[in-house]
């Protein structure tokens, strides 16, 4: 059996950057040359809840409103925390170029909206498959087995849904609470011992402590996403040798604890401008 010596665990920021811009994609692909890339079930969940969810939001808005420039301007200018990701999707994924919204006529706007919507209908199901089978060499899911991660987005009669219902004992089969009590709580202890100044790590430790002390705890995917970095890093423990992320503050500490080589990805070309 072939022993893989260089196994790269990809944080979700890396997966998103590969889809956001060509320059970033090329840089990341160069760094990953020679690595066996892995993701985890929580990173697939994160991908569904961010990139796919925003594609679906745009699709539903285009169907409802019908005018491309109106929807584009509203979604990109909003104060929603994912408005930058939406801009990337409009600029890069859709590849639909509209004249100025001050000049475009209604009919053209409707047609562009229809084309953009159909492009998303073509692409959304395949994006999910891309992550699970081409974006990485394999998805490690044996430890937590996130149920939401295994459910692809689906199209009903008109609208897409990301398929992210609130997790309850009745609709999930994952082992996240068990995983937290058996493994994640020890990580939280080490993080507290070492000390940190990250609000996100603090919130994660509190979540783990709450689950560990409550035998009836039943957390949902939003909780898992808040503790995403720790859960992703733990899911790959013993299998990954390197971890790639743009986020130093949490990942540098986690890599030190879990014995990964941390590879920080940055884009100096963008910073020059």
């Amino acid at each position: 059996m072939e022993v893989k010596t260089k196994v790269a665990l990809l944080d979700n920021t890396i997966q998103l950057d590969r889809l956001k811009a060509g320059a970033r994609k090329r840089q990341i692909d160069e760094l990953l040359e020679g690595f066996y890339c892995v993701g985890t079930s929580i990173s697939l969940l994160e991908f569904k809840a961010t990139y796919l969810q925003e594609c679906i939001t745009i699709h539903n808005a285009l169907r409802k409103n019908g005018r491309y420039t109106v929807v584009r301007d509203a979604l990109v200018e909003s104060q929603h925390r994912q408005h930058r990701l939406r801009a990337h999707i409009f600029n890069n994924m859709l590849n639909i170029f509209a004249p100025s919204s001050l000049e475009i006529d209604k009919e053209q706007d409707f047609q562009l909206a229809e084309e953009a919507r159909l492009q998303l209908e073509n692409v959304i199901p395949r994006l999910y498959k891309w992550f699970a089978s081409e974006g990485v060499h394999s998805v490690l899911s044996g430890s937590i087995c996130c149920t939401r991660a295994t459910e692809p987005p689906r199209k009903k009669n008109a609208a897409f849904e990301a398929n992210l219902p609130i997790c309850r004992k009745s609709n999930k089969k994952c082992r996240v609470e068990h995983f937290i009590r058996e493994r994640a709580i020890h990580l939280a202890d080490i993080i507290r011992e070492l000390g940190h100044d990250s609000e996100q790590l603090e919130a994660t430790c509190q979540l783990f402590e709450k689950v560990a002390s409550d035998p009836n705890a039943d957390i949902s995917h939003s909780d898992c996403r808040r503790a995403g970095d720790c859960l992703i890093a733990l899911e790959a423990e013993g299998q990954a040798t390197h971890a790639f992320s743009t986020n130093t503050s949490e990942w540098a500490l986690l890599c030190g604890i879990l014995d990964y080589d941390f590879v920080r990805v940055s884009y100096p070309e963008e910073k020059k401008r």
């Binding site: 994609k25 590849n95 159909l118 073509n122």
Partner: protein, 202 residues
């Protein structure tokens, strides 16, 4: 009783529930008289209903035939234009003279988009998929190969549905093109810079 379902008219024989009886005749010999108000009996309605339904069906069939004829004609033109793209390949790229083919293909794809054929929006999805690979990029052998295969594939298919759309998306990957293409490929980018020209320079 006349009912309409899915655009088709059907006639049920009159029963006690759907025929208005004339009170006088009921009290008489017990036979059913012609209804005076309400539902029209089946026998008297059939002739004009039959011709109306036949006309409507004929109209639907004519529209479908016209739709398929438009679709097929456009596909034939697209396949022919795709073959011409080969004539303009130079060093692996379509030359500037090939712009005429690109414009022609663009116009034909617009025509195909408007065709009234296929299940739901399948034809439109196919056109959008093809355009997503050909818009705003310098055409190379891969793009021309993809266009030819897609054009002939759609030309040779009668039933255009979701399954066919998936086959076209598979075709993109088979030609090593990027389905999630949205970033400008390096072939398409040209760089410009402003240079100061001094007085003594020509």
């Amino acid at each position: 009783m006349i009912t309409q379902k899915n655009g088709r008219l059907s006639v049920r024989p009159p029963t006690a529930s759907n025929v208005v009886y004339d009170e006088a005749s009921r009290q008489g010999n017990g036979s059913v008289s012609e209804p005076t108000t309400g539902t029209v009996s089946a026998d008297s309605a059939i002739p004009w209903l039959k011709s109306d339904a036949t006309t409507r069906t004929a109209e639907i069939r004519k529209a479908a035939t016209r739709g398929y004829a438009d679709f097929r004609r456009t596909c034939d033109d697209l396949a022919e234009a795709a073959l011409h793209a080969d004539d303009y390949l130079l060093n692996g790229e379509v030359s500037d003279e090939g712009l005429e083919v690109i414009v022609q293909v663009d116009e034909l794809l617009e025509r195909l988009y408007q065709c009234d054929w296929g299940e739901g929006e399948s034809v439109k999805r196919v056109v959008v998929a093809i355009k997503s690979q050909l818009n705003n990029v310098r055409w190379t052998e891969r793009h021309v190969g993809f266009l030819k295969d897609a054009a002939f594939k759609i030309r040779n298919r009668y039933l255009i549905n979701d399954q066919f759309v998936e086959e076209c998306l598979d075709l993109i990957e088979a030609h090593n093109l990027d389905l999630f293409r949205g970033v400008l490929s390096s072939e398409g980018i040209r760089r410009y810079r402003l240079e100061e020209i001094h007085e003594d320079e020509p």
